[in-house]
Symmetry: C2
Subunit: 325 residues, 2 copies
């Protein structure tokens, strides 16, 4: 499997992350552990932990277990936002199974997210590094602001490329970036390298999300683990659609705009928009845009010595576009 | 007004806290600012900010604005938990008005709480004091665990005094304690005084919540800003009821236990339980229990010099029982 090849240099560390993630986090919290284990165990790709571990390794970290500790935090924070996002978006499915709010209701899910998030902060305090703490704290503020912006542009066909890029930078790239930055910080490399990895994570995250949004139009439900066109159903106007809405001036465009602005989309509406986007070149444009960011990400790796970890990160960049994982 | 008399020594600082709380927190977040301003502006008593300011003052803090900065954080964190608690409890009213989730729905409310919480952590990172950060981070973990325990004992008449005390220690007292501890920490007093104020806040918080829970049975809706018997409606079995359920062995007890365990309570059920609790001495027992903790709180103040700030904190302890604010 592709993922295992790319992550091979940190496979043992990732296995340790996995073990720690599966442990019941709090003895006081049976029900919450059930929810968090469900979400954390549901086939997550552990991209953020892997990024942190590979970044640290590439920067020469070999100082113990801080990398594993922080990799667990990165995944906890990711899971916390997944749970709350699924409440906010009213998402019924996640990774091919019912979402946590669909299964346990919003009440328990709010709490499960809060639990993971407050635990993450407590672990960062225990780790005791202000720069790392700041990286993650800034990322969480950004993630919340990304959600807010997304909500503001909900079902709005007037959203611009720039708004969309701000949203995904906040929602996805900020945590990718914090993970990579933290890896560099704990390895103790100089400022330019810390900044290079911060930029690397940011660009990788933007590229990753652009591909994700393209897949939502072009993939199959089996591959996505959630219905195709799911973003549309949740009222999210993403890059592929924004692109076509700005290129096209046919009467179909007005019809699509009208569909978006007016109430819940029916299955036939989703299919119509999907065809509009794929035939109008939206999917290809999104992948093309992703490639720009992925190239920028790859450039950030140039100053680092040619190690196994660096080659692994390069491969990760290259495989983002072709990913089926 | 009582509150103004007690808080007089830090009135100017509190006014500054108030100004900062009302400012729009983020330019990216119109809707969220609307929610957070609504919650923060809804007649909060600012007990936590006042505790932090008075603790700092009593410990001799006069080093600038860190006390105000942290007082704002304490209120933000409190507001964040109020918003999420109202989702978890399905609460329709808060301080005489519709709750945030009742007005904006759970989706926006999840986000508003996350926003306040992540902002709080970011401000603590900016403040740059690991001990203060740890105090608040531990409090937020405790608050989440308190919510979890409360959920576990939802509508369960078998809950013990000890479980209940753990719940309110986590849910209410932990943040009171963190506020007082932070005041001591920024003033730079020695370890025993930091611990004394930590204990002070903890005992005060427990006493405060015991009185609150007694008021839920004994007060009027006008005074509470939410319906009387609201805890019952939300499925919370609190001290006054636990007390009577453990004292009483009449057939009425079995009936009440049955009512609690079986589905939604009707208005007549709530009234029946209310009468059962007040006539069975539950309200008085709760206030008596509160007094024990408040006495312990007052003792923690003994080592401190007799200043206006100390007298203010003592008065606060004394007025908790008689509070109408």
């Amino acid at each position: 499997m592709l993922r295992e090849l790319v992550f091979a240099p940190v496979a043992e560390k990732l296995a340790e992350v996995e073990r720690r993630i599966q442990v019941k986090i709090s003895s006081r919290a049976d029900l919450i552990s059930e929810v968090t284990n469900y979400v954390l165990g549901g086939g997550g790709k552990r991209v953020r932990p892997a990024l942190l571990l590979l970044s640290a390794r590439m920067c020469g970290y070999d100082g113990g277990e801080r990398d594993v500790d922080l990799a667990v935090v990165a995944e906890f924070m990711h899971a916390a936002t997944l749970i709350h996002d699924d409440i906010i978006d009213n998402a019924q499915k996640r990774r091919g199974r019912p979402s946590a709010p669909a299964r346990w209701g919003p009440h328990v899910s709010v709490l499960a997210g809060d639990f993971l998030y407050s635990h993450s902060i407590q672990r960062l305090v225990r780790d005791g590094d202000f720069q790392v703490l700041k990286a993650f704290a800034d990322a969480t503020v950004a993630m919340t602001e990304g959600e807010i912006l997304e909500l503001r542009w909900h079902r709005n066909p007037d959203v611009l490329h720039q708004d969309y890029l701000t949203i995904i930078t906040c929602k996805t790239a900020a945590l990718f970036s914090a993970a990579c930055r933290s890896g560099a910080l704990i390895a103790g490399v100089d400022e330019p390298r810390v900044e290079a990895l911060t930029e690397f994570g940011l660009n990788l995250g933007i590229g990753f999300q652009l591909v994700d949004d393209a897949l939502d139009f072009a993939a199959s439900e089996e591959m996505l683990g959630k219905p195709v066109g799911n973003d549309l159903v949740e009222g999210k106007v993403t890059y592929p659609l924004i692109y076509v809405l700005h290129q096209d001036h046919s009467p179909e465009r007005d019809h699509i705009r009208h569909l978006l602005s007016n109430g819940q989309l029916q299955e036939t509406d989703v299919e119509r928009i999907r065809r509009y986007v794929t035939e109008g070149g939206g999917v290809l444009a999104s992948v093309e845009e992703a490639r720009k960011y992925l190239r920028k990400a790859r450039q950030q790796l140039v100053p680092f010595p040619d190690t196994v970890a660096r080659r692994s990160l390069e491969m990760l960049v290259d495989f983002i576009v072709e990913r089926k994982w």
